[in-house]
Symmetry: C2
Subunit: 199 residues, 2 copies
């Protein structure tokens, strides 16, 4: 059911996603109404539905855009580094710092990501993000703890992503002068767990 888009329309879609990120960041997912998103984008509710069939589709498209942005940030941070041989502290820096920066630069991100108890609609919308994060973490885990059985590796990846999800609000909500300390704690938690896995 693809539909022919004009350049103007593509621009509108990007504006809608920007507005949605704003609204999610400020109001949270549930309270960010489609009318509110449309108002922030400077368009009418009807126009929003020309581009997205509903709020969930907006969220999913926003999640896809976040994943794309994150993937390039991740690629830039790692380049061709050897994950297996890297010092644990350096590994954590390379993974955590860009992700924290990404969260600070995209306040709407955590509304789609940092929620242990997602409503089913939101869970489906944010699934691309979850899948992307889990994949990257599993790859790192496979390189650093080769002895780990696949089921255990999957479980440990879930744990690591969960920890990051949970602590992200703590980091982003902290005042600037305390943020480094919060980031240090996050790295302690992740590092402590990785160490106990043997990585």
């Amino acid at each position: 059911m693809e539909r022919r888009r004009q350049a103007r329309g593509e621009r509108r879609m990007a504006e809608i996603l920007d507005a949605a990120a704003d609204a999610f960041a400020e109001l949270g997912y549930e309270k960010a109404s489609t009318n509110a998103i449309a108002a922030r984008a400077g368009i009418s509710p009807g126009s929003l539905y020309q581009f997205f069939p509903g709020k969930e589709a907006v969220a999913r498209a926003l999640a896809d855009r976040f994943v794309a942005d994150m993937a390039s940030a991740h690629a830039a941070a790692f380049g061709e580094a050897d994950v297996a041989a890297m010092d644990l502290g350096e590994l954590l820096d390379r993974v955590v710092d860009p992700l924290v920066a990404f969260n600070l630069a995209n306040p709407g991100f955590k509304a789609l990501f940092a929620r242990p108890d997602m409503p089913s609609a939101l869970a489906e919308s944010s699934q691309p993000i979850q899948a992307a994060m889990l994949g990257q973490v599993e790859a790192i885990l496979g390189a650093r703890v080769p002895g780990l059985a696949p089921a255990d590796r999957a479980r440990s990846a879930r744990v690591l992503v969960r920890i990051f999800q949970a602590m992200t609000p703590l980091v982003t909500a902290a005042p600037d002068e305390e943020r480094p300390a919060e980031i240090a704690e996050l790295k302690k938690v992740l590092g402590g767990y990785l160490t106990s896995l043997g990585g």
Copy 2:
């Protein structure tokens, strides 16, 4: 503005809290409407408002009841044990196992507790729970890592509670046969962090 209650009324209030716990567990905090809570309690919406001025008050009362139940469970699990001298593994067992059991026995609990991004209304409602947990963890932390500055101790307590919040859904949602493995991971995370603190 206290109001004289009959025994019948007190019973109703307990029934309403039971129904609210049910509704929170099944629908989540936001989608658990006062009408839905009243229906589950077998009463009319109007009757609910005879006992609670609103949804937030119901949540707060439920939180208070959870805190009371938890406190007695905690007391039973610790008795007069020496927290400072205890083996780390035993400490984790004594803290984690009863809390996990409590979460399994009270499915509504996590709706008021396991949410990193609480709406302000909910944050206020669940504040008693947060405060109680933080207090207990800070006490343990003070006994085991006496060298920790007060600000660092407070921060570490927040981190530990956060980790527990985040991983609780992973543990409770797991099928019975995988739950022990998830609990083990939770203990690894907490233990790894405590170790890196020097405790």
